[in-house]
Symmetry: C2
Subunit: 429 residues, 2 copies
Amino acid sequence: MESTVGIGILGAGTVGSALIQRLVDDHVAIAAKTGLDFSVRRVAVRDLGKARAFEVPDGVLTDDPWLVVNDPEVMLVVEVMGGRDRAGDLVFAALEAGKPVVTANKELVASRGLELVAAAERSGVPLLFEAAVGGGIPIIRPLSETLAGEPVERVMGIVNGTTNFILSRMAEDGAEYGEALAEAQALGYAEPDPTADVSGADAAAKASILASLAFGAWVGVDDVYYEGIEDLSPIDMAFASEFGYAIKLLAVAERSAAGISARVHPVLLPVDHPLAAIRGATNAVFIEGESVGELLFSGPGAGGAPTATAVLGDVIDAARGVLAGAEVAPRIRFSPAELIRFDDVATKWYVRLEVEDRPGVLAEIAGAFGDSGVSIKSVWQEGAGDEALLLIVTHRAAEADQRAAVEAIAKLDPVRQVASVLRVESEEA
Amino acid sequence: MESTVGIGILGAGTVGSALIQRLVDDHVAIAAKTGLDFSVRRVAVRDLGKARAFEVPDGVLTDDPWLVVNDPEVMLVVEVMGGRDRAGDLVFAALEAGKPVVTANKELVASRGLELVAAAERSGVPLLFEAAVGGGIPIIRPLSETLAGEPVERVMGIVNGTTNFILSRMAEDGAEYGEALAEAQALGYAEPDPTADVSGADAAAKASILASLAFGAWVGVDDVYYEGIEDLSPIDMAFASEFGYAIKLLAVAERSAAGISARVHPVLLPVDHPLAAIRGATNAVFIEGESVGELLFSGPGAGGAPTATAVLGDVIDAARGVLAGAEVAPRIRFSPAELIRFDDVATKWYVRLEVEDRPGVLAEIAGAFGDSGVSIKSVWQEGAGDEALLLIVTHRAAEADQRAAVEAIAKLDPVRQVASVLRVESEEA
């Protein structure tokens, strides 16, 4: 009892090609396991002349993506072309036409998710995007379905493999940022223009999606504060390690009594935290819930084959709905989010200061922190004389207060330089 | 636009009570997040007179579970009473009556899953059991949905918290098995009668479910070979640690060209394997797929609150289907499994022998291994004279051959005793 499901695919890059190969090569195995007979009807590509790793019958390839969306034999649309505007218009049109959509496009979901989810709900078809966060790691479905009734408190994720690879090299080999980046580029983990990854922008789109699903409230990408890893120094990697921390670029989505926040920045994380052990290009998501406790998911966060697995899982899921012929009850609902401004988010700071090595310096600095309402948890002096450094970790305080304190400290006479500032994530206040 | 969904619950033990509390206490939050208005209509308990942690209106509690299943206001049945026969008959009847069922009962699913899945398919209603493996960890849905199109090769899980707690105590404190068990009992991690956990039977039921979902082929609990941890000695824990291994009780489901196998037994696992780091009562499942690579899921594997989270996720999922009013396309299909007999499964063995310390002993032992077609990977002598021990690790060979080799060795003159035998899971052949 196999039923044919015509698939249209927008984009045949790394993920699209891997998906098409799977749909062709594993056709029999997938049919045996799921009862679904998939047929790739239309594939939109940019360049019809380019050599492809997959084989499809004549007439399947087109350079007009609207032919894919509008083809009456296409019952289900897969969007793996990327980008915001054109991809969004195509996805929107497919949903309006009553076709389920599977997308791997985090940028699209994080920017236009609210209207797309609404369009899917109006048409009674699914919009699925398991591959948008964490590549092959099942995270969207667990978060939006298994944990649908869970009061999730916090989600923290290593959701960008490029930056985690770079940070791992810096931590393990003492490499400078530039060296580690060059190595990541040579190995294909980083793009020739690495900005989207190293600036934290890619992770910010994923933080938006994780926050929206975890709290059932829409947190768009423009609501996510982000910082990248470009300014990280091997000196801070070494100090972090000496004091029992790893430095990781984390996406953090939090809910407190005051509201919801989502942010991306490097953090000092205690080495015994499960995320501290995630090395190289691996991704991981750590979820803390009031009832469920702590959950960790890890695996390959990118790459054609793993990401195609996530897309294929969504395709199978959506196809079952298509064949059942019924309107699909929406699995995702977003209520308006009560967002906390980033200035009001409470974090702990690590501050490295180059200071004059003389009595009274610490008192002045501690005074400046205190004047801004920030209290100091620990202070450590490294070196002496002209080389004197103070490493300070504060207790939790609002971002705006931390920033005000550091600005005041930078102006103090015995402070030569605020050499670096990083946030710390740990259990204590 | 909230729609009332009447729920019937079979059993109000740890999980049932936690679920009812959540449905009552979080009623508003769940409705806001999902649009579903749950109403607990009927709860079957063994003892109507017992004090309860939850409050339900008069007339909701009953000691007749059939009243729950047959109540026309019960649109969805949750089975958390446990057991095989009575629970099975009730679940079967609910499905036949067209009511979706959510169950946390691994024993039931592992023994009667095939007929229950068929009954659900006939009625076009979902049968969901996320809580049956790994408590609060989302694992059933990722495996059966996100990875529906993945050629899964192997699933290995720490799926019994009691035994992992005991093994962690033995490894970290050098405790004897009996001491560690007593401590687990004192802390509530082990039952007064711990047999189901320590014998591996509980993990075997979970191995059956994991194997069936991973490979889309029915592997019943009677097809799962299992051994427990009762005979583990601190001596082997210490040697394992010395040679870079942790000892864990693993559920292993594997697919090879020859077929599918599922088994539960203690194994020596390299310390750098992600599962080796899972401590205490935590559960974790490690999945290896041809395309997706390696995935790890970890979290609390038991306990009322985490398990209730998984049940609640299924309840929300099933309720969406009920309200959509459509027949639900089955998400799980089982084809007949081509099973490998356990005798034919290839594993590596660790063997500890008490031997006479004289020339030629190793040659005799190596000869006996060779005669059975087993080749030795490494040999280590510990102690000397009357205390002489040989620690042998073999290459991969069929279980039957490994057993024949050890039986032959036990009869050799210079072999005083085959002190212990354990399996080794590592990458190499």
